[in-house]
Protein backbone atom coordinates (compact mmCIF):
# COMPACT_ATOMS: atom_id res chain seq x y z
CA UNK A 1 0.00 0.00 0.00
CA UNK A 2 2.91 2.32 -0.40
CA UNK A 3 1.89 3.97 -3.67
CA UNK A 4 0.39 7.39 -3.16
CA UNK A 5 -3.26 7.58 -4.00
CA UNK A 6 -4.70 10.19 -6.30
CA UNK A 7 -8.22 11.50 -6.01
CA UNK A 8 -9.98 14.35 -7.74
CA UNK A 9 -9.37 16.34 -4.58
CA UNK A 10 -5.67 15.66 -4.24
CA UNK A 11 -3.38 18.63 -3.90
CA UNK A 12 -0.38 18.27 -6.26
CA UNK A 13 2.32 16.31 -4.46
CA UNK A 14 5.06 18.90 -4.82
CA UNK A 15 2.89 21.66 -3.42
CA UNK A 16 1.69 19.55 -0.51
CA UNK A 17 5.22 18.44 0.37
CA UNK A 18 6.49 21.98 0.35
CA UNK A 19 3.61 23.11 2.49
CA UNK A 20 4.06 20.31 5.01
CA UNK A 21 7.81 20.75 5.29
CA UNK A 22 7.44 24.48 5.75
CA UNK A 23 4.86 24.12 8.47
CA UNK A 24 6.81 21.33 10.16
CA UNK A 25 9.88 23.57 10.31
CA UNK A 26 7.74 26.36 11.71
CA UNK A 27 6.28 24.03 14.34
CA UNK A 28 9.72 22.80 15.32
CA UNK A 29 10.92 26.37 15.69
CA UNK A 30 7.73 27.27 17.54
CA UNK A 31 8.23 24.50 20.08
CA UNK A 32 11.74 25.74 20.78
CA UNK A 33 10.45 29.29 21.05
CA UNK A 34 7.80 28.29 23.62
CA UNK A 35 10.37 26.51 25.73
CA UNK A 36 13.02 29.20 25.52
CA UNK A 37 10.68 32.07 26.33
CA UNK A 38 11.16 32.32 30.05
CA UNK A 39 8.90 35.25 30.78
CA UNK A 40 5.46 33.94 31.46
CA UNK A 41 3.20 36.48 29.82
CA UNK A 42 5.31 36.49 26.70
CA UNK A 43 5.38 32.70 26.78
CA UNK A 44 1.58 32.62 26.73
CA UNK A 45 1.56 34.62 23.52
CA UNK A 46 4.15 32.32 21.96
CA UNK A 47 2.11 29.33 23.11
CA UNK A 48 -0.94 30.74 21.35
CA UNK A 49 1.07 31.21 18.17
CA UNK A 50 2.43 27.69 18.49
CA UNK A 51 -1.12 26.41 18.84
CA UNK A 52 -2.09 28.13 15.59
CA UNK A 53 0.93 26.65 13.81
CA UNK A 54 -0.03 23.19 15.03
CA UNK A 55 -3.55 23.77 13.77
CA UNK A 56 -2.24 24.67 10.33
CA UNK A 57 -0.03 21.58 10.38
CA UNK A 58 -3.01 19.38 11.15
CA UNK A 59 -4.89 20.96 8.30
CA UNK A 60 -2.10 19.94 5.94
CA UNK A 61 -2.29 16.46 7.49
CA UNK A 62 -5.94 16.33 6.35
CA UNK A 63 -7.29 16.44 9.89
CA UNK A 64 -9.81 19.29 10.01
CA UNK A 65 -11.36 17.91 13.16
CA UNK A 66 -8.13 18.02 15.10
CA UNK A 67 -7.42 21.43 13.59
CA UNK A 68 -10.57 22.77 15.20
CA UNK A 69 -9.62 21.29 18.54
CA UNK A 70 -6.09 22.57 18.31
CA UNK A 71 -7.45 26.02 17.59
CA UNK A 72 -10.07 26.06 20.31
CA UNK A 73 -7.92 24.39 22.94
CA UNK A 74 -4.33 25.02 21.97
CA UNK A 75 -4.68 28.54 20.73
CA UNK A 76 -7.52 29.85 22.92
CA UNK A 77 -8.48 27.86 26.00
CA UNK A 78 -5.02 26.80 27.19
CA UNK A 79 -3.42 30.22 26.81
CA UNK A 80 -6.33 31.75 28.73
CA UNK A 81 -5.93 29.25 31.56
CA UNK A 82 -2.16 29.70 31.67
CA UNK A 83 -2.56 33.45 31.56
CA UNK A 84 -4.94 33.35 34.50
CA UNK A 85 -2.53 31.24 36.49
CA UNK A 86 0.37 33.49 35.55
CA UNK A 87 -1.45 36.63 36.57
CA UNK A 88 -2.52 35.07 39.84
CA UNK A 89 1.01 34.14 40.74
CA UNK A 90 2.50 37.40 39.56
CA UNK A 91 0.43 39.60 41.80
CA UNK A 92 1.97 38.11 44.88
CA UNK A 93 5.47 38.99 43.88
CA UNK A 94 4.77 42.69 43.82
Amino acid sequence: MSAAVVTPYTVPAGLMDTLQVTVLVLVAAGAAAVVLTRRLVRQVLVLGAYGIMLAVLFLTFQAPDVTLSALTVGAVALPIIVLLAASKTRKKEE
Partner: protein
Amino acid sequence: MRPALRRWVFLAGAAGLVAFYLWGLSGLPGFGNYPGPYGPAILRIAVAQTHATGVVSAVNFEYRGFDTVGEEFILFTAAAGTAIVLRMLRGERERPPADEARDRDVPPTSGAVRTVALMFTGPVVVAGWWLASHAQANPSGGFQGGVVLATAFILIYLAGEFLTFRRLSPTAIADAVEAAGAGGFAAIGLAAVCLGLPYLDNFLPLGQIPGAVSSSGTIALISFFVGLEVAAAFILIVSELLEQTLLIRHGGG
Protein backbone atom coordinates in the same frame (compact mmCIF):
# COMPACT_ATOMS: atom_id res chain seq x y z
CA MET B 1 21.98 18.05 41.30
CA ARG B 2 23.40 21.39 40.35
CA PRO B 3 21.61 22.87 37.35
CA ALA B 4 24.69 22.80 35.12
CA LEU B 5 25.41 19.17 35.91
CA ARG B 6 21.76 18.31 35.45
CA ARG B 7 21.70 19.91 32.05
CA TRP B 8 24.61 17.77 30.89
CA VAL B 9 23.20 14.59 32.37
CA PHE B 10 19.92 15.32 30.66
CA LEU B 11 21.53 16.10 27.34
CA ALA B 12 23.47 12.84 27.47
CA GLY B 13 20.32 10.88 28.30
CA ALA B 14 18.23 12.65 25.70
CA ALA B 15 20.89 12.11 23.05
CA GLY B 16 20.88 8.42 23.86
CA LEU B 17 17.11 8.19 23.81
CA VAL B 18 16.80 10.09 20.55
CA ALA B 19 19.49 7.92 19.00
CA PHE B 20 17.57 4.85 20.11
CA TYR B 21 14.39 6.27 18.60
CA LEU B 22 16.06 7.10 15.30
CA TRP B 23 17.61 3.63 15.26
CA GLY B 24 14.11 2.20 15.50
CA LEU B 25 12.52 4.49 12.92
CA SER B 26 13.83 2.28 10.13
CA GLY B 27 11.00 -0.10 10.95
CA LEU B 28 8.27 2.50 10.58
CA PRO B 29 6.53 2.84 7.22
CA GLY B 30 7.49 6.19 5.71
CA PHE B 31 5.35 9.27 6.12
CA GLY B 32 2.27 9.05 3.94
CA ASN B 33 2.34 5.27 3.66
CA TYR B 34 -0.04 4.33 6.45
CA PRO B 35 -0.53 0.58 5.96
CA GLY B 36 -3.83 -0.03 7.77
CA PRO B 37 -5.84 -2.16 8.32
CA TYR B 38 -7.79 -0.35 11.06
CA GLY B 39 -8.40 2.93 9.22
CA PRO B 40 -9.35 1.47 5.83
CA ALA B 41 -11.70 -0.99 7.51
CA ILE B 42 -13.47 1.84 9.30
CA LEU B 43 -13.61 3.97 6.17
CA ARG B 44 -15.16 1.09 4.29
CA ILE B 45 -17.98 0.43 6.70
CA ALA B 46 -18.56 3.60 8.68
CA VAL B 47 -20.94 5.56 6.51
CA ALA B 48 -23.17 2.62 5.72
CA GLN B 49 -23.11 1.33 9.26
CA THR B 50 -23.59 4.53 11.25
CA HIS B 51 -25.04 7.01 8.74
CA ALA B 52 -22.45 9.52 9.84
CA THR B 53 -20.43 11.17 7.11
CA GLY B 54 -17.90 12.49 9.57
CA VAL B 55 -15.95 9.30 10.03
CA VAL B 56 -13.85 10.75 12.84
CA SER B 57 -17.01 11.36 14.84
CA ALA B 58 -18.16 7.86 14.06
CA VAL B 59 -14.91 6.53 15.47
CA ASN B 60 -15.00 8.82 18.47
CA PHE B 61 -18.57 8.28 19.49
CA GLU B 62 -19.28 4.83 18.16
CA TYR B 63 -16.43 2.47 17.29
CA ARG B 64 -14.19 3.81 20.00
CA GLY B 65 -16.93 5.40 22.04
CA PHE B 66 -15.72 3.75 25.19
CA ASP B 67 -12.46 5.69 24.97
CA THR B 68 -14.49 8.83 24.81
CA VAL B 69 -16.37 7.87 27.97
CA GLY B 70 -13.02 7.68 29.71
CA GLU B 71 -11.89 10.91 28.13
CA GLU B 72 -15.00 12.79 29.27
CA PHE B 73 -14.47 11.54 32.77
CA ILE B 74 -10.87 12.67 32.68
CA LEU B 75 -12.16 16.15 32.02
CA PHE B 76 -14.85 15.73 34.66
CA THR B 77 -12.24 14.61 37.16
CA ALA B 78 -9.94 17.48 36.27
CA ALA B 79 -12.73 20.00 36.83
CA ALA B 80 -13.61 18.39 40.16
CA GLY B 81 -9.92 18.25 41.03
CA THR B 82 -9.44 21.93 40.22
CA ALA B 83 -12.32 22.76 42.51
CA ILE B 84 -10.94 20.57 45.29
CA VAL B 85 -7.43 21.99 45.01
CA LEU B 86 -8.51 25.60 44.83
CA ARG B 87 -10.94 25.51 47.72
CA MET B 88 -10.61 28.59 49.81
CA LEU B 89 -8.00 28.23 52.44
CA ARG B 90 -8.09 29.30 55.99
CA GLY B 91 -7.07 32.93 56.21
CA GLU B 92 -8.33 33.75 52.78
CA ARG B 93 -11.28 35.90 52.13
CA GLU B 94 -13.20 37.05 49.16
CA ARG B 95 -13.20 40.65 48.23
CA PRO B 96 -14.92 42.49 45.45
CA PRO B 97 -12.98 42.35 42.21
CA ALA B 98 -10.83 45.37 41.59
CA ASP B 99 -13.07 46.76 38.90
CA GLU B 100 -16.11 46.65 41.15
CA ALA B 101 -14.40 47.95 44.25
CA ARG B 102 -15.06 51.46 45.43
CA ASP B 103 -11.40 52.37 45.31
CA ARG B 104 -11.01 51.02 41.82
CA ASP B 105 -7.55 51.45 40.45
CA VAL B 106 -8.10 49.92 37.04
CA PRO B 107 -9.58 51.89 34.21
CA PRO B 108 -13.05 50.72 33.22
CA THR B 109 -13.23 48.38 30.26
CA SER B 110 -13.29 50.55 27.19
CA GLY B 111 -16.59 50.89 25.41
CA ALA B 112 -15.16 49.42 22.25
CA VAL B 113 -13.91 46.25 23.92
CA ARG B 114 -17.20 45.90 25.74
CA THR B 115 -19.26 46.28 22.59
CA VAL B 116 -17.12 43.99 20.47
CA ALA B 117 -16.97 41.30 23.14
CA LEU B 118 -20.69 41.37 23.80
CA MET B 119 -21.41 41.50 20.10
CA PHE B 120 -19.47 38.33 19.60
CA THR B 121 -21.14 36.45 22.41
CA GLY B 122 -24.26 35.64 20.46
CA PRO B 123 -22.53 34.35 17.32
CA VAL B 124 -20.10 32.35 19.42
CA VAL B 125 -22.94 30.63 21.23
CA VAL B 126 -24.56 29.84 17.90
CA ALA B 127 -21.27 28.56 16.49
CA GLY B 128 -20.67 26.35 19.50
CA TRP B 129 -24.15 24.94 19.35
CA TRP B 130 -23.84 24.30 15.63
CA LEU B 131 -20.53 22.50 16.08
CA ALA B 132 -21.84 20.34 18.89
CA SER B 133 -24.88 19.28 16.89
CA HIS B 134 -23.16 18.49 13.59
CA ALA B 135 -20.71 15.86 14.72
CA GLN B 136 -22.12 13.24 12.42
CA ALA B 137 -21.63 15.34 9.30
CA ASN B 138 -18.73 17.75 9.41
CA PRO B 139 -15.38 18.17 11.05
CA SER B 140 -16.94 19.18 14.31
CA GLY B 141 -18.42 17.62 17.35
CA GLY B 142 -19.29 17.97 20.95
CA PHE B 143 -15.78 18.60 22.00
CA GLN B 144 -15.00 21.58 19.81
CA GLY B 145 -18.52 22.91 20.22
CA GLY B 146 -18.22 22.69 23.98
CA VAL B 147 -15.01 24.65 24.07
CA VAL B 148 -16.50 27.31 21.81
CA LEU B 149 -19.58 27.54 24.02
CA ALA B 150 -17.34 28.02 27.03
CA THR B 151 -15.53 30.75 25.14
CA ALA B 152 -18.78 32.70 24.93
CA PHE B 153 -18.83 32.91 28.69
CA ILE B 154 -15.22 34.01 28.72
CA LEU B 155 -16.17 36.80 26.30
CA ILE B 156 -18.69 38.04 28.82
CA TYR B 157 -15.87 38.27 31.29
CA LEU B 158 -13.71 40.10 28.77
CA ALA B 159 -16.47 42.62 28.38
CA GLY B 160 -15.71 43.53 31.95
CA GLU B 161 -18.74 41.80 33.35
CA PHE B 162 -17.14 39.34 35.70
CA LEU B 163 -20.03 39.44 38.10
CA THR B 164 -22.40 38.78 35.23
CA PHE B 165 -20.16 35.94 34.21
CA ARG B 166 -20.39 34.58 37.70
CA ARG B 167 -24.11 35.07 37.87
CA LEU B 168 -24.62 33.38 34.52
CA SER B 169 -22.52 30.40 35.47
CA PRO B 170 -22.99 29.65 39.13
CA THR B 171 -20.87 26.71 40.15
CA ALA B 172 -23.79 24.58 41.26
CA ILE B 173 -25.47 24.82 37.87
CA ALA B 174 -22.24 24.29 35.98
CA ASP B 175 -21.60 21.27 38.19
CA ALA B 176 -25.04 19.90 37.43
CA VAL B 177 -24.64 20.47 33.69
CA GLU B 178 -21.23 18.88 33.76
CA ALA B 179 -22.53 15.87 35.63
CA ALA B 180 -25.46 15.64 33.25
CA GLY B 181 -23.09 15.69 30.30
CA ALA B 182 -20.64 13.10 31.55
CA GLY B 183 -23.29 11.02 33.29
CA GLY B 184 -25.59 11.27 30.30
CA PHE B 185 -22.95 9.76 28.08
CA ALA B 186 -22.35 6.89 30.49
CA ALA B 187 -26.12 6.47 30.83
CA ILE B 188 -26.67 6.21 27.07
CA GLY B 189 -24.30 3.30 27.22
CA LEU B 190 -26.25 1.79 30.07
CA ALA B 191 -29.51 2.25 28.22
CA ALA B 192 -28.20 -0.16 25.62
CA VAL B 193 -27.33 -2.60 28.39
CA CYS B 194 -30.87 -2.34 29.71
CA LEU B 195 -32.13 -3.26 26.25
CA GLY B 196 -29.95 -6.33 26.38
CA LEU B 197 -27.39 -4.92 23.93
CA PRO B 198 -23.68 -4.43 24.51
CA TYR B 199 -22.64 -1.26 26.32
CA LEU B 200 -22.78 1.82 24.08
CA ASP B 201 -24.54 -0.03 21.29
CA ASN B 202 -26.12 2.39 18.85
CA PHE B 203 -29.72 1.46 19.60
CA LEU B 204 -31.45 4.52 18.11
CA PRO B 205 -32.78 4.69 14.56
CA LEU B 206 -30.03 5.90 12.27
CA GLY B 207 -32.17 8.12 10.07
CA GLN B 208 -32.53 7.95 6.33
CA ILE B 209 -30.02 10.46 5.02
CA PRO B 210 -26.43 10.05 6.10
CA GLY B 211 -25.10 13.32 7.45
CA ALA B 212 -28.42 14.97 8.32
CA VAL B 213 -28.73 16.49 11.79
CA SER B 214 -31.07 13.80 13.01
CA SER B 215 -29.10 10.93 11.50
CA SER B 216 -26.63 8.50 13.06
CA GLY B 217 -28.57 7.52 16.19
CA THR B 218 -26.62 7.77 19.40
CA ILE B 219 -23.67 9.50 17.75
CA ALA B 220 -25.52 12.79 17.56
CA LEU B 221 -26.91 12.35 21.05
CA ILE B 222 -23.53 11.51 22.55
CA SER B 223 -21.94 14.44 20.77
CA PHE B 224 -24.54 16.70 22.35
CA PHE B 225 -23.82 15.37 25.83
CA VAL B 226 -20.10 15.69 25.26
CA GLY B 227 -20.69 19.29 24.27
CA LEU B 228 -22.52 19.93 27.54
CA GLU B 229 -19.82 18.24 29.56
CA VAL B 230 -16.94 20.02 27.87
CA ALA B 231 -18.55 23.45 27.99
CA ALA B 232 -19.44 23.08 31.66
CA ALA B 233 -16.05 21.69 32.58
CA PHE B 234 -14.21 24.54 30.90
CA ILE B 235 -16.51 27.13 32.43
CA LEU B 236 -15.90 25.58 35.84
CA ILE B 237 -12.14 25.52 35.40
CA VAL B 238 -11.97 29.07 34.07
CA SER B 239 -14.26 30.45 36.73
CA GLU B 240 -12.28 28.72 39.47
CA LEU B 241 -9.11 30.30 38.14
CA LEU B 242 -10.80 33.66 37.65
CA GLU B 243 -12.01 33.59 41.20
CA GLN B 244 -8.49 32.95 42.34
CA THR B 245 -7.21 35.87 40.34
CA LEU B 246 -9.93 38.37 41.00
CA LEU B 247 -11.68 37.62 44.22
CA ILE B 248 -9.51 35.78 46.66
CA ARG B 249 -7.04 37.61 48.77
CA HIS B 250 -4.72 36.14 51.26
CA GLY B 251 -5.05 37.02 54.92
CA GLY B 252 -4.85 40.73 55.45
CA GLY B 253 -3.70 41.54 51.93
